[in-house]
Symmetry: C2
Subunit: 225 residues, 2 copies
């Protein structure tokens, strides 16, 4: 089994601030898991007793609205930690995590890492930084949701995915989402998301290769109103 100390993934998240001995201890009690596309990793209300370090794949964090629709709040990709809040609070999760493609994750029990959060100030400061950044991003999402049209939000979502999660060799977005997922990110009806994406295609802003989306006119997307 791979060792945390040598794992490249840890460079991308706050685990990098742990000392070698801390990493070794964690390594010895972590569990590697393969999670199949579509699997619910944890649900709203679940009490998490640890964090997941995402080695590969991507998942969505969503919350069920009272109207029965799912709202995607954030996406977590390779390199990031999933379920950070469980380290800080004993409260149950307010979000559901679902794998968007096949994932490889390491689960680190809370009991093993919580002490490091208390003792290693570099580590806790790092977690603090990530959380502050999440909060900043959440503020932006709030403003977008409140002030922009579905068309604008969808355009921005495409650009966000492009910039944050990268593209395949052929230029298509590496993250493959259903129209329903797009609707669920943007906070609109699935039909509306489909309509807008069709429109973008007609306007030459995007193209599709199979199920993949390729941004053809980045500046055009920026100018969408």
């Amino acid at each position: 089994m791979a060792k945390c100390e040598q794992c490249i993934i840890k460079q991308f998240n706050s685990l990098k601030s742990l000392t070698k001995s801390e990493l070794m201890r964690i390594s010895s009690c972590k569990t590697s898991k393969i999670i199949k596309k579509g699997t619910v990793i944890f649900e709203e209300g679940d009490v998490l007793n640890g964090v997941y370090c995402v080695k590969d794949g991507i998942c969505k964090l969503s919350k069920l609205s009272e109207n029965g629709k799912d709202q995607i709040v954030k996406m977590v990709v390779k390199g990031q930690l999933l379920g950070q809040r469980s380290l800080i609070s004993d409260a149950s999760s307010n979000l559901q995590a679902t794998a968007l493609n096949d994932m490889e994750v390491c689960f680190i029990p809370k009991t093993e890492i919580i002490a490091d959060l208390q003792k290693n100030p570099k580590f806790s400061f790092d977690v603090l930084k990530e959380m502050a950044n999440d909060l900043k991003e959440a503020d932006d999402v709030i403003v977008n949701m409140a002030q922009k049209s579905v068309r604008q939000r969808l355009a921005e979502t495409l650009m966000y995915i492009h910039d944050s999660f990268g593209v395949n060799p052929d230029g298509t977005l590496s993250v493959l989402l259903s129209r329903e997922d797009y609707a669920s990110i943007v906070g609109t009806a699935t039909e509306s998301a489909i309509r807008v994406l069709s429109q973008f295609k007609k306007e030459g802003l995007i193209s599709t290769i199979g199920k993949f989306i390729k941004i053809e006119d980045f500046n055009g997307l920026k100018r969408v109103e």
Copy 2:
């Protein structure tokens, strides 16, 4: 000048986790300020070199959208800290803070408190907790913005203000906001906010005493669709 060690306000925020000596040091370099209603405390892009401990009053944290409208992201009241993120990151503020009524605050320079964040794990864990909670609240706001009607959002805003910030002796909401502010919280046009509030009044869900709003039918507001 009042001393931090004896200040009751600190009980309500993470400063309570500082030791007596830490508090005494901070106390000696803090600055008390009176901020008049309407004053912009800091703007988007400003680099904050400290945090404000709110001793009295309330302010709004807002962000300017590209369409020129302000979106209120959060409100900060007596007891809370303002500008926490400046302690964690050197980046400029992504939000603007504006006093909604006359405020009394203490400004604590970053230089004085940053060391405590690194050395006192209880304190940093406490800041972490507050930030985790802010993040959770932000998630809820995102879902509400994305999935609920203006009517529902406004009803929830009224209940939120009632529950979080309390009422005056006559039962009216203690926080006095303009219709424009309500619109800016809910993310709608000022006219729409006015219309919905008028409607709530007609329906007997709320009443007004002068400029103050009183919730008359809490369950009715809950049931708003």
